[in-house]
Amino acid sequence: MDMTSNTSNQKENAPTNVVGKPLDRVDGPAKVTGAARYSAEINVPGTVYGVLKSSTIAKGRITGIDTSRAAKEPGIINIFTHENLPKPAKTPKQIEKWRAAQSYLPMQDNQIQYAGQPVALVVAATLEAATQAAALIKVTYQAETPIDSYHDPKAELFDPQKIQQGKKDAHVVRGNPQQAYDGAAVKHEATYVHAINHHSPMEPAATLAVWEGADKLTVYEASQNVTMHQGALADLLGMPREQIRVVTKYIGGGFGCKGSFWPHTILTVLAAKAVNRPVKLALTRPQMFTGVGHREDQEQTLKMGATADGKLVSIVHTKKATTSPWDNYTESNGKVMDMLYACENYSTVYELARANVMTSVWMRAPGEAPGSFALESSMDDLANQLNIDPMEIRLRNYADYDHSNGKPWSSKSLKQCYTRGAELFGWSKRNPKPGQTRRGRMLVGHGMASATYPVHSSQGTARVRLFADGHAVVEAGATDLGTGTYTVMTQVSADALGLPPEKIRFELGDTRLPTAPGSGGSVAAGTVASSIMAAAQDVWDKVVKMAVADKKSPLYKAKPTDVKVELGRMFLSKDPKKGETLLAALGRSGQPDIEGSGTGKYGAGYEEKNFGQNGADPNNDNKEKKTGGHSMHSFGAHFCEVEVDPDLGTIRVTRWVGVHGAGTVLNLKTATSQMTGGAIYGIGAALMEDTFRDPNFAHYTNADLAGYHIPVNADIPNIQVEFVPESDPYINYLGVKGIGELGMVGVAAAVGNAVFNATGRRLRSLPMTPDKMLEAMRMPA
């Protein structure tokens, strides 16, 4: 009775009871009472405080560091610079498979490669003393002229061949895109610019490093992925993984910036070892702009060819972006263009330029968010050019299979999303002619865009311990960004064991727990839920074995393979009335508890295991299918109303509808919140988020939350979110698709499309601030 036999011929997802319900957050009370301790709030006896001093230049070298005044501050324990900080066993560069974003580790020599790079680390008895001492350190530099961006005249664009640590190709071609474009009846070409964005979570990055012996380390880290942090530390320190424990019980948002390994963590760990005390270090808000990556400055040129009735024949995409002096990171914007529509010819090419900036990193919907801004804005233009309704043109190009790889979809409800969204929004009442709808002085516009996000293949392990007294402890080394992992996994466990949610204690965020994926790429919910189901099935197996051997059980002498378990009850498949609960059997056994563990897969791995390499779907007679298996994506549709002040240039979103098809929804409340948050994050990128990097200094000028605007309540209207029912047997046992990023894909385009409908002006440079809107209003429509 393992998962394979249980699921191989099923076409439905597991039965549920609490799963899907809008359960309140199980960690809510701890959070609102302050009982929840975030990484920087954890107190270990003897803890001292670390503060980083950041470079004020972006390129050059350190010629001197005068610590004499700083050292006189009371309470100073040590001041580390490149001259006295112990070296790690290896630097990221020396590690063959360095997976974290930045391969450069500062404070190894006197070189400066980017502004804000750490140049000293002060350890003191109090945070205040360390802060003051850091300010008193005098660093002298020999500065050189830095390069600030790909658009710096000194910058040189190059062909990286591969992007993202060699993981992705920098050239992707399908069909004959240029030729198809040249021959197309209708052509559209446009260039889109995306500003530098910073994740800006509420909780800053933080590390508390506690050496419990010369070869035993515990790190409390603001981490989206404790396994990754453990692995990176093991590599850098030359220690076995098991000697390093990484703990993250709560995260105050991350959006990707806590999913990679950054310099502050190892610097703190090295300093803690040197001072032989636990050291706690949190980045300041300005350091959050130069310490944990960002979404890179970038521009995309998109050429689309179509038939006269709006069917795409070619998509030719290029992207230019800034990267660091060492790494070839850039978001893969092309992915979404390759698969969202039916189009036979496609290409994308990435060009990068090195500048004196830290390595950029994934930020919520990396690639999909800026990529969809270009794609969905151009689609809107095309619709307008051809006088076709924007939703209609998307339907005409509806992809019935994934054109990027020829595979059928595991499930796709985009049509239902369009229909339901249009209904909720009142799309049919939209005036297709731009600039026609007024509300007082305001120009009113309506726009829509599609959303999609891939199911990234993933796997993880969980442990379930069911106690005879009717409660259970469920464990997985996952993390909770604040989005609800604690809550939804409690629900999944409750249904797997047939217990009420309050009888489940779900533990996460610790490398001592079974290995689970981090919160990134929207894989956590689907993977951890599957792992819990696998572990629960291990428990089921054991209890079923007990029952069939137990005279007092109604299942006595049954064949274990004839027994099914649903919602905590074992019964004969052929005679469901005959059975009992897991707890009843466990109770009689006299055993106080029983433990199970299991590995669950999410995405392609799950399908391969349960449906075979090429077995796929017997209903799939798609001739173009090149390989086995399905293409797995979630989809959605956004509908947006804006009011534009034509004289002042201000754009306000006044209405929002998002309808999504994302498989099984584990908790309607947390899922709705997450999709709402996605829309808000997208509105931020669309209308205001913009970090300014000075062209001469390659240093940010607005690195705080007064200067870097994120939406406030007044910017956000009532956001209506719905999920269409969708069941997907191929992706995992419960049919869960991740929703962390889906909600923000297409948002900026929906806003821009609404602005176009309101004004007849297309803003192609994000964010769409009042100055840009006003400038566009001066130009003829």
């Binding site: 002042l648 300014f692 062209p695 200094f697 000028t701 910017d715 100055d771």
Partner: protein, 327 residues
């Protein structure tokens, strides 16, 4: 932030004398400007003199107009019925500023003395003539989107006062009452309080180092009663103005009898537009009149790479504000 000592002054003289004797001391009221600047090491003071116990309180009508104690909080003043009814531009300028939490802490005196949001000024990694005279002005060729187009010099183009209240006070001819360590008081019209950057952008106001702001008095006029503050910003709340306008009009039979016009976000100081006012008085209260006045208000504007939009935005803001008070 460096270590500092802290005293609480009970009488004005305690505060002003302590400041006279310690040039590196600073008064602290709500602390919302001061502490930010100290934390980022833009300002370093070895002594803070808390002025919150001083009797600079009260919002009352006097023969010279509405007198507001310098230690009244932005939120209290903004919500006060006298202010809301007689000086709507002042109430609006306060309530559209910052956030509710900040307005609850921030004082009127501190607001008038808040410092520029120029990003170079606020980060000691950069040179900046205002923070460290003679080091240069990177904003000229850099991030000047939020900076001034009027009253600038080659030394500094910052909107030295980036806030809202003083724009309304400038339009409505408010007068500041100052008191020094000798206990001597003087009255300074707010239009004479701020200084242009010239070659000394570090000198921002005429306030002497031992002087306190005691109160601000706003004359009661028909134009003040019919006044408005309009603020344009990057997000709907909790953002500094890109451009703002404080206007007051007295209109009789369709003709403008008196006009008060000031702009925020465009000048190195709150920008009173006397010429625009002259162009309004005696003219019909129509959009054409307002447009002509707006053209005059922005005459001589000197935009840079990223702030040219302010010319048009300021004109439109002014026309909008005037149109709205004219009805």
């Amino acid at each position: 932030m460096n270590n500092f000592s802290y005293i609480q002054a009970e009488k004005p003289k305690d505060a002003t004398a302590a400041k006279r004797d310690d040039k590196s001391a600073a008064f602290i009221a709500g602390g919302t400007t001061l502490l930010d600047l100290m934390k980022s090491n833009v300002e370093n003071h070895d002594q803070l003199i808390d002025v919150n116990l001083l009797p600079f309180r009260g919002i009352e009508m006097t023969k010279d107009g509405l007198r507001i104690g310098a230690l009244e909080r932005m939120s209290d003043v903004g919500a006060h019925p006298l202010v809301a009814q007689q000086f709507p531009a002042v109430a609006e300028s306060l309530l559209l500023a910052a956030s509710a939490q900040l307005r609850n802490m921030a004082s009127i005196g501190g607001n008038v003395l808040q410092r520029t949001r120029c990003g170079y000024f606020r980060d000691t990694a950069f040179p900046c003539n205002k923070r460290e005279p003679g080091t240069g002005c990177p904003a000229l060729e850099g991030d000047n989107r939020n900076l001034a187009i009027l009253g600038t010099s080659e030394t500094c183009i910052a909107t030295s006062y980036p806030g809202d209240l003083s724009v309304a006070l400038t339009a409505l001819d408010a007068v500041l009452t100052l008191e020094n360590s000798k206990g001597k008081q003087r009255q300074v019209p707010i239009t004479k309080f701020y200084l242009l950057p010239g070659t000394t952008p570090q000198r921002e106001t005429v306030l002497e180092s031992d002087e306190l702001i005691v109160a601000v008095t706003i004359p009661q006029t028909a134009a003040a009663r019919k006044s408005k503050y309009l603020k344009v910003r990057d997000r709907s709340s909790y953002a500094y103005a890109l451009v703002s306008a404080a206007v007051g009009l007295e209109v009789q039979g369709g003709t403008v009898r008196a006009a008060r016009v000031a702009l925020g976000g465009v000048g190195t100081q709150p920008w009173r537009c006397f010429e625009a006012e002259k162009a309004l008085v005696g003219k019909p209260a129509t959009e054409a009149t307002f447009r002509a006045a707006a053209e005059l208000a922005l005459r001589g504007a000197k935009p840079r790479e990223h702030n040219a939009y302010k010319i048009e935005m300021a004109k439109n803001t002014l026309v909008r504000a005037l149109s709205e008070v004219a009805v």
